[in-house]
Symmetry: C2
Subunit: 347 residues, 2 copies
């Protein structure tokens, strides 16, 4: 293709997890929530559907105010996005010039590499240590380094870097660091309070996972106002539509629903981890709504394929620098039991 930038021509493109548009699958492959969202979300969307002729609020004020209350920050510290992928794109375009460097842990979310490639930037992957902490080199200075991505909890492992370590990282780094908290509602702590302590620390969230709203496309960032001011210039003027703003505002206002949902997911996660261990898998204790497992003697790709033949989708992932394994999203107890039964017959 003659007209396209070289970095785009070379790009394989990010391939999201399979989303079968037809047929009945048990989907345990893209970390969606197995439970329907709060009924208040559906009500809010249905009301908003009656007023679509006007442009949406460019900065999603209603959501910012509701989220500010829940998170104990000012509304001016929040940037809303069309999913947290939009937030990641905005950050890349704000901080990273062509030829600059983005750093990320290995293994982690593959989209970070794609974002670097689209921007014409390089990326550097730094391997986690055995105990899932980060080595010194993750905060090593580099004049080209302009943005660091740190998913926390991480995917596919579900592990976390602790707050003290993140504060020290941010101190040493020459650039902003994004703590991607897509899965943090399922974890024991989060890093929102760290944003106040160092302007280099920014935190992103999504409503796709813990709020059961993957179809709504709504995410947000918490950052200091001096950062927010710059990021708002780069986002599309109307990046969130009227429906998603209304739904997201209702969702974050219903914290009782969230607490109940998170309790159920954590309980099923515990069961999934225990049973996988009993089946001989190596299981990393997860703080997210998925579990990573590998096996020292059994090949797991055939298990992934066998599950798929039986209409259960999980994620098979193979990391050249690390290992291969399955990432299984935490579904309902029934879904997980169905999945485990099939796995049991193959190990």
């Amino acid at each position: 293709m003659t007209f396209v930038r070289d970095n785009i021509s070379r790009l394989a493109g990010y391939v999201p997890g399979e989303q079968p548009q037809a047929g009945k699958f048990i989907k345990l492959n893209t970390n969606e929530n197995p439970y329907p969202p709060s009924a208040k979300v559906i009500d809010a969307v249905q009301v908003a559907a009656q007023k679509l002729d006007r442009y949406p609020d460019p900065v999603s004020t209603a959501f910012r105010m509701a989220a500010a209350e829940v998170l104990n920050v000012d509304p001016e510290w929040i940037v809303c996005g069309n999913g947290s992928d939009d937030i990641l794109t905005i950050l890349t375009r704000t901080f990273v010039d062509q030829g600059d460097l983005i750093r990320l842990p290995d293994p982690s979310y593959i989209l970070y590499r794609t974002l670097a490639e689209i921007q014409g930037a390089d990326y550097e992957e730094v391997r986690f240590q055995e105990d899932w902490s980060l080595p010194e080199s993750f905060s090593a200075p580099d004049p080209r380094l302009k943005l660091v991505f740190l998913p926390n909890p991480n995917s596919p492992t579900g592990t976390m870097v602790n707050q003290q370590e993140i504060l020290e990282l941010a101190d040493r780094l020459p650039c902003p660091i994004l703590i991607d908290e897509a899965y943090v509602d399922f974890a024991e702590f989060n890093c929102i309070d760290l944003v106040k302590q160092n302007e280099k620390i920014m935190v992103s969230r999504t409503l796709s996972k813990s709020y059961g709203l993957a179809g709504l496309r709504f995410g947000f960032l918490v950052a200091q106002p001096s950062m927010v001011e710059q990021l708002l210039k780069v986002k599309d003027s109307y990046n969130c539509d009227s429906l998603s703003i209304a739904g997201a505002t209702a969702a974050i206002s219903d914290q009782a629903w969230l607490q109940d949902n998170v309790a159920k997911i954590r309980s099923t996660r515990q069961m999934l981890q225990e049973k996988l261990s009993q089946l001989g898998f190596e299981v990393i204790p997860s703080q997210a709504n998925f579990v990573w497992c590998s096996h020292s003697t059994v090949e797991v790709k055939p298990i992934y394929e066998y599950l798929k033949e039986n209409r259960i989708l999980v994620r098979y992932m193979s990391y050249p620098n690390w290992k291969e394994g399955l990432r299984i999203s935490v579904g309902t107890d029934d879904q997980i039991n169905a999945c485990l039964s099939l796995i049991q017959s193959k190990v």
Copy 2:
């Protein structure tokens, strides 16, 4: 701001038309449709609201199939976007490297300049000629030229470049040209068929104007499949949410609603143009759902302000290379008559 790219620091940021979030205004400033959308859209959104826990279809297949039927192209020729602004962003990121050049007519849509600036590219504005055709220099070769934007109908003028001229332009240009047809449903012709004749020609559309769905954020691009393949790599994986895909699919499937709506807007546009002329304004005949007017003896900024005091918003625009004037969106007959009465008292 230390961490931000220089081009972003320097950027003033695109300022969309005023969107008062409270109070009762007659909004004739952002070219929204004064009529509510097809009831089928509301129904489709309300159904989709009941299934938000799963990720949306990454390529909006349902919409592509419906639009393909209406436009007489294959679904593979269509890229869907979170508003046509998203399409413009995707095009810029696909074709334009830092330091490259984007060309656009002057005057035109201010966002094109912002997109160039965010990308770290330069932009070159080429003045329309007296008869609103483009000069030879609009297709002049330049090794840095990687993308050309041509809104057709143009904003703020509502004028069009004809098909033959566009074909010749594309032949001479060294790069793709985006025909931005945001307003084309109100016009007498469009350029979809030209896409088949030259792979450099691409056409974008939005549902914000003629379908009355500014709040939905849905736009799309028609381009040859070799182009589409590259553009899909650059868009966010899930750039359109389940609600907007459902609503947009219902909207484009209801062509009877569209024809009826367009007939009403054209009739009111004719009335608005005639009365503005009678009040001594210079009016350019418009093919869009807005009318641009200027005045040789009366200053128009005070008129804009007077209208605003009386809760009618129009767009005041001042182009250093050209002139100042008012861009008035075509509302209902009642809205336009209310606006005209106030204007009459000031000229």
